[in-house]
Symmetry: C2
Subunit: 254 residues, 2 copies
């Protein structure tokens, strides 16, 4: 298809329109293996740096895509404003990219960790996306996503990640039971643990981040680290707590 031709989709019953409406949540993304990327800053940046990951662009008004350097392999679709608004869940008002979810292999925890590796069960996609940003910022390369975790390509996760997901190696997690056999030091954040403010970080380790508000699965055999706090609140936002650990490890490693 030539680079400057726009296909028009007007019916919400169009198979492509239906697929796109379906990939607004984790289940649909899993089923179809595709995702939508939004953002006035994220879309041009992703096109420039990771154009090969995308195969379509969706706009209500082709004029809005005028400034975008679109490679030829990306199909352009013009849709009705109402369909566009339904797909543009963050209300960016800017063309959306459609990409293929990369293959995620299951992590082999019998191999030792490289640097700080995260084992994550965060269920809130916005928390997960913000965590991706912190992980990329502080040199964590590998993120192992447990079954409870939100989908890493959920629109809210991508919005919060601001393209950090492309800087990381995302892997599927094994069962919680498999963590008992994991190589190398393995830690989790927990109010009852050792004071993280005085902790001497090993260079390589695995850090487990449980589901928000639920803590860790019972019986998990990991060392516990606690973020020191005043006691005025019981806990921090899960991504904030994880980011403090990533930051501390980063400072200790440089």
């Amino acid at each position: 298809m030539s680079g400057d031709i726009w296909r028009v989709i007007e019916s919400p019953q169009n198979p492509r329109a239906k697929l796109w409406a379906d990939i607004l949540d984790g289940r649909g993304i899993k089923r179809h293996g595709e995702f939508l990327l939004a953002g006035r800053k994220s879309v041009p940046e992703a096109l420039a740096r990771h154009g090969g990951r995308f195969h379509a662009l969706i706009a209500a008004d082709p004029g809005e895509a005028a400034g975008l350097a679109l490679p030829d392999h990306i199909d352009r679709f013009r849709v009705t404003r109402s369909l566009f608004d339904r797909l543009d869940v963050s209300g960016t008002g800017f063309p959306l990219l459609v990409g293929k979810v990369p293959e995620m292999t299951t992590a082999d925890l019998a191999a030792p960790p490289v640097g700080i590796e995260l084992i994550v069960a965060l269920g809130d996609p916005a928390n997960l996306g913000a965590l991706f940003r912190s992980a990329a910022a502080f040199g964590a390369r590998r993120i192992v996503l447990m079954e409870e975790a939100a989908h890493p390509f959920h629109p809210k996760a991508l919005r919060a990640a601001a393209n950090a997901q492309f800087e990381l190696e995302l892997m599927r997690g094994p069962s919680w039971a498999a963590l008992d056999a994991a190589q190398g030091p393995i830690f989790a954040l927990d109010a009852g643990g050792e004071d993280m403010g005085a902790f001497v970080w090993p260079k390589a380790l695995r850090l487990v981040l449980g589901e928000e508000g639920k803590g860790l699965p019972a019986g998990l055999k990991v060392k516990r680290l606690a973020v020191p706090m005043t006691g005025a609140v019981e806990s921090l936002n899960a991504t904030v707590a994880a980011s403090l650990a990533l930051f501390s490890h980063f400072l200790a490693s440089r």
Copy 2:
């Protein structure tokens, strides 16, 4: 009104029902001076520790309030499931409390700061609420809310704050121009600033947190601190960045 009587509201046109539907966003909360608090953990905890701040409880099924120790001054309202679901924006399925927004006076920045004081313009209520948790956790007592900031009693802010808002002194901000005359050291987080990882924190200071994605107003006369990062991403989530500063200050002060 006796403590165990439930008033029934079935019409969405009922004045109370209309008021409650109105206080789901910052504008309505400002207009009516009331807010809704939700959460299976936050509601019982707020009742036990701050019962005097609330005057009504809303449930679709009084049985769901059975375990709550409700003081006599709190009116009980039974509403239809559809009205309840509309008010329960976080989908907690647990009775909601109605409270009065406390008076917020305008901060006098000509007085020196006590400890670390935050001057905040975060527009995302979930970011703001999570920041409240971090502030309470790391000993910041006073939060000065600039005009751009989300309403501190927005349902999403309260959900993310997990009652931390009650541990803080929330104040209205003066104009940005007034910051030039502020007493004591005043800092902001900015990618071009001094390395925060090596920074020697003063005990008392003001820390400015600009709007997400917009940075600081041009010409603001503050010292700049940068969170050291790998360079793989341009920036962190605003609440994460602020929490790193609060944590670093807290560690340096203990």
